[in-house]
């Protein structure tokens, strides 16, 4: 197809503003899917995506509209997946910016709009849900017009739910979004904007052909990774895989690579023809680094191999997931995993438990730290227990947090951010009622019960998003927890010096309550280095006997003791102290329950 007949676009929106419903309606109106094939959120193929109403993986689908080929690339909306979003946006020339007519602009509307503008995309603003009784399409259109600098009259007003105005959206895509620029004769270049893993056919790369074309069976090469393979199959999504002979400049489609190792072809890489390779890769390849880390341990240590297999499988579809084996004295064998953010962590955990039926114990999440040792060595620390006791300096990641709230909650948000070591950046009235607050905050403060606090202090009216800024030095200390003098590695944490005492105190108190009394006194301490900052004692039991034991009782009493012993074997052992799993969980959940 000639380039001027092709339009590549994506839909960006804040969560729940109707992105997936709009995609569904587009598939219907263009008769891409028959009534029979249609179901809700058709592009969200994962069970978890449909259930939570979110998109985790990008998807691309080709539809036909009035003589044009439209490629719709559906993207994840959440900040954790910004990297995937920005790759997907690079494969497009335009974006539909969907805004809920009742809610107006939200934090992710902004983040996504800016991302689209940065990528040079033509933005087509769409006010959705105009059928809702509480909809205020005019006010919303005014907000959106201000944001993207568009005449309010050109802002589309639709209802994806009722189908009203869907045709105007498709017409606008054709009329307003420019056709792809590319050289059909140049050496082939295609951007890998996402990938999935097929257990029979290996890595399937989602690509946008920029220059030239690929033929089925052609030898291809990934420029950044240097990987070579044969294009076993080329095609586009309808939304199911539909094979074609060639992929031409400007088109969006997929390449079946046969590669069995996802790390050999990463999102953001450029594919070219091995025989006539392009010299320059397409811009934008970047190694994504996880920002949030947590230890993941099987509840039953016998499940360790299952957890390893499950992580391997998950990684096939999620190249951003990082993991390495970790041995905790207290929790046994497990993995230290790195995630793009808290949602990513939650999703990985949920997928492991649900799709692989595993019982997991997840330690409190922490961020990555950079430490400069006294010896002048630079370390990246993913686990608080690995932080050297003596360091010259520790740096932690900072973010710029954008929060949009009705104006009456400005004070609450300011207070929360100040409590969390935030630095005010700027404030802006989006409308008379709604205010954008930008703060720079340590990421560690977000990881620790921030969302719940924000939600409760703004009665759920706040919307929140952030960008990672980089690392900054801080007054950070490692707090260790000691049971009967033995450090419990899984409970170490890194906190700001000012908050250390309170966190140590809270941990120690919780442990005293949660750990059952033992056969001996157990001192529980929180310490910074060798300095104890909080201390409690779990008093020893004074009596633990089976009262009577005569002829008729022996079997029952024996079984009682055998069960008790078996129970002990399931407990986590720290030195001579036995800690039931539940106690660990309760303490690790402390973060989630700070009142």
């Amino acid at each position: 197809m000639s380039l001027d007949r092709i339009r590549n676009f994506s839909i960006v929106a804040h969560i729940d503003h109707g992105k997936s419903t709009l995609a569904d309606r587009i598939l219907e109106l263009t008769q891409t899917l028959s009534q029979r094939e249609m179901r809700e959120q058709v592009l969200d193929s994962m069970e978890l995506e449909r259930e939570r109403g979110i998109t985790i993986k990008a998807q691309a689908v080709r539809v036909a509209w009035r003589g044009h080929q439209l490629n719709l690339i559906d993207t994840p909306g959440h900040v954790d997946f910004t990297y995937e979003v920005s790759r997907a946006l690079q494969a497009c020339e335009g974006a539909l910016l969907v805004v809920d007519a009742a809610q107006g602009i939200e934090a992710q509307t902004l983040a996504n709009a800016y991302l689209a503008i940065e990528n040079g995309l033509e933005i087509v603003p769409v006010v959705n849900k105009i059928d809702l009784p509480q909809a205020d399409p005019e006010r919303t259109a005014a907000e959106v017009g201000d944001l993207v600098g568009e005449d309010e009259a050109r802002i589309l007003r639709i209802s994806a739910k009722t189908g009203e105005g869907i045709d105007t959206v498709l017409d606008a895509v054709v009329a307003r979004i420019p056709p792809p620029q590319g050289d059909p004769e140049a050496p082939a270049r295609a951007l890998v904007f996402d990938s999935s893993y097929d257990q029979y056919r290996g890595v399937v790369a989602f690509v946008r052909m920029v220059d030239g074309s690929f033929r089925t069976r052609e030898r291809l090469r990934a420029l950044a990774a240097g990987t070579r393979f044969e294009a076993e199959e080329l095609g586009f999504f309808s939304p199911f895989r539909s094979p074609t002979e060639t992929l031409e400049a400007g088109e969006v489609g997929y390449v079946v690579t046969g590669l069995k190792d996802v790390s050999r072809l990463r999102v953001g890489d450029t594919l070219t023809a091995d025989e006539r390779p392009a010299r320059e890769p397409l811009p934008g390849y970047k190694d994504v680094k996880p920002t949030v880390f947590a230890g993941l341990f099987p509840t039953d240590s016998d499940d360790y191999p299952e957890v390893r297999d499950a992580l391997e499988k998950l990684k096939l579809n999620d190249a951003s997931l990082f993991y390495e084996p970790e041995t905790s004295q207290a929790l046994g064998f497990g993995f230290r995993c790195g995630f793009l953010g808290l949602l990513h962590m939650e999703i990985v955990r949920e997928r492991l438990e649900r799709e692989f039926d595993l019982d997991l114990l997840v330690t409190a999440p922490n961020v990555a730290y950079r430490a400069l040792t006294k010896a002048g060595e630079e370390l990246e620390v993913h686990n608080p227990a690995d932080m050297p006791p003596e360091v010259e300096q520790v740096e932690e990641p900072y973010i710029r947090a954008s929060t949009i709230v009705p104006k009456e909650y400005v004070g609450s948000v300011m207070e929360l951010n100040n409590d969390r070591r935030g630095r005010f950046h700027h404030m802006e009235y989006l409308s008379e009622e709604r205010v954008l607050l930008a703060f720079d905050l340590p990421l560690a403060e977000i990881v620790y019960d921030y969302y719940d606090q924000l939600k409760s202090r703004t009665r759920g009216y706040a919307s929140f998003d952030y960008d990672v800024l980089g690392f900054e030095p801080g007054e950070l200390v490692r707090v260790d927890v000691l049971l009967a003098g033995e450090p419990v590695d899984a409970l170490s944490l890194i906190v700001h010096r000012e908050g250390a005492y309170a966190r140590g105190r809270a941990l120690v108190e919780r442990l005293r309550v949660e750990i059952p009394r033992q056969l001996f006194d157990v001192p529980v301490q929180a310490a910074i280095g060798s300095r104890v900052i909080a201390r409690e004692t779990i008093k020893a039991k004074r009596k633990d006997v089976l009262a009577k034991c005569y002829g008729g009782d022996i079997t029952r009493k024996r079984k009682l003791l055998e069960r008790q012993k078996k129970g002990k074997k399931r407990m986590k052992q720290v030195g001579s102290v036995e800690i039931p799993q539940e106690a660990f969980l309760a303490v690790l959940n402390l973060d989630g329950e700070r009142k």
Binding site: L519, F520, K541, R542, K543, D544, V545, L546, A547, K548, C549, Y550, G551, G552, I554, T555, K557, R558, L561, E562, Q564, K565, K568, S576
Partner: protein, 365 residues
């Protein structure tokens, strides 16, 4: 296999006037009309199993229920049919001890009585739903002694809802005043789901921490008064251990007769049906009553020897229990001062004995 020669015989007399709220034994309330039929069955079972008994039986124990609530004529039939033994114990509730009963016991070979005193305080006896009054215990002891029974044991309970440390001390004082040869002191166990727990669970919960200290109080007082703490819950004057119970704790074989009674013989344990009607019917046909059987393999027997042996204040020979022992745990417990490995065997320290349940669970391999 050597010819079985059981030297310890248990006989269960299940009848009671009333079922106390905290009781979880196999008991049958009232049914005076059935005492005769039950005793017929019991004696039939005795005849069936007599070949298992050693020529010289060492101990016989009549437990219940309330054995002394059994119709005197029926109780007499039982006593007459029993083999001679060095120690013949009958459990009795104080209020059932009349001069006639004391005579009946003493004349028919009983030389030891275990009295279920529980407390000397009327308020606590009421809470326990015991019928005896404090005076009944004292009277019973005198009557038994007068009849010639020289070996008397008293059962005491502590941790009764509402009971303070000084109440416990008072009960022990009353008991000591009677100079019993033997005392068994148990913490009241509120079994989940019992009527008693339903009524008093909350109060017991509230008292829990104080009750832990009562055990120390009991041990200190009794040991200070010259009693030997020879078993977790048992105390005796010189040479007055409950020999029958020592048989259990030393892992000897025993034969149990009557409903719900348990026997252990040559690595096989069986338990008679707890149902009176089924028991009586089977034996009326000359058959053994329905039984549940359990095979005890060598490991299990070693674990039991460990569990039972550690209840005693004498060293447990390591050779007998080695397969059941977690040596790492033993080392840990030794370093905590709870257990000791000596040339003559394994013993728990005094603190180890207070924590005997947890320590034993720890020691099991």
């Amino acid at each position: 296999m050597s010819a079985p020669a059981v030297r310890h015989l248990y006989v269960h007399l299940p009848f009671c006037a009333h079922r106390c709220g905290y009781c979880d034994f196999v008991t049958v309330v009232g049914r005076r009309g059935q005492h005769g039929a039950y005793v017929d069955a019991l004696l039939a079972e005795l005849e069936l199993e007599r070949p298992l008994l050693a020529e010289q039986v060492e101990t016989v124990f009549l437990g219940g229920g309330t054995p002394t609530f059994t119709e005197p004529a029926e109780l007499r039939r039982v006593l007459l049919a029993l083999p001679q033994a060095e120690e013949v114990t009958v459990e009795a509730n104080p209020e059932t001890v009349t001069p006639a009963l004391a005579e009946l016991l003493a004349r028919n070979g009983v030389n030891r009585v275990s009295l279920g005193a529980q407390s000397f305080n009327s308020a606590f006896l009421d809470v326990l739903e015991r019928r005896a009054r404090p005076g009944d215990v004292r009277r019973a002891v005198h009557l038994l002694r007068h009849a010639g029974i020289e070996n008397i044991s008293l059962d005491l309970l502590y941790g009764i809802p509402g009971q303070s440390a000084s109440d416990v001390a008072a009960d022990i004082g009353e008991a000591l005043a009677l100079s019993p040869e033997h005392l068994s002191c148990y913490e009241l166990e509120a079994k989940p789901g019992t009527r008693f727990t339903h009524a008093h669970g909350e109060e017991l919960e509230r008292q829990a921490e104080a009750i832990e200290g009562y055990f120390e109080l009991v041990v200190e007082t009794l040991v200070g008064s010259g009693y030997r703490w020879y078993e977790t819950a048992s105390f005796c004057l010189q040479g007055r251990q409950a020999r029958h119970n020592l048989g259990y704790w030393r892992g000897r074989d025993y034969l149990g007769l009557g409903i719900g009674a348990v026997s252990t013989l040559d690595g096989v344990r069986w338990r008679n049906t707890p149902r009176l009607a089924a028991y009586v019917a089977a034996l009326a046909e000359g058959e053994r009553p329905p039984r549940e059987q359990e095979q005890l393999d060598e490991d299990t027997r070693a674990r039991e020897r460990l569990m039972l042996g550690l209840r005693l204040d004498r060293p447990l020979a390591l050779a007998d229990v080695r397969v059941a022992l977690d040596v790492d745990a033993l080392a840990r417990l030794e370093s905590l001062g709870l257990a000791e490995q000596r040339a003559d065997g394994l013993v728990l320290t005094s603190r180890g004995r207070f924590l005997g349940g947890g320590v034993t669970a720890e020691l099991l391999a």
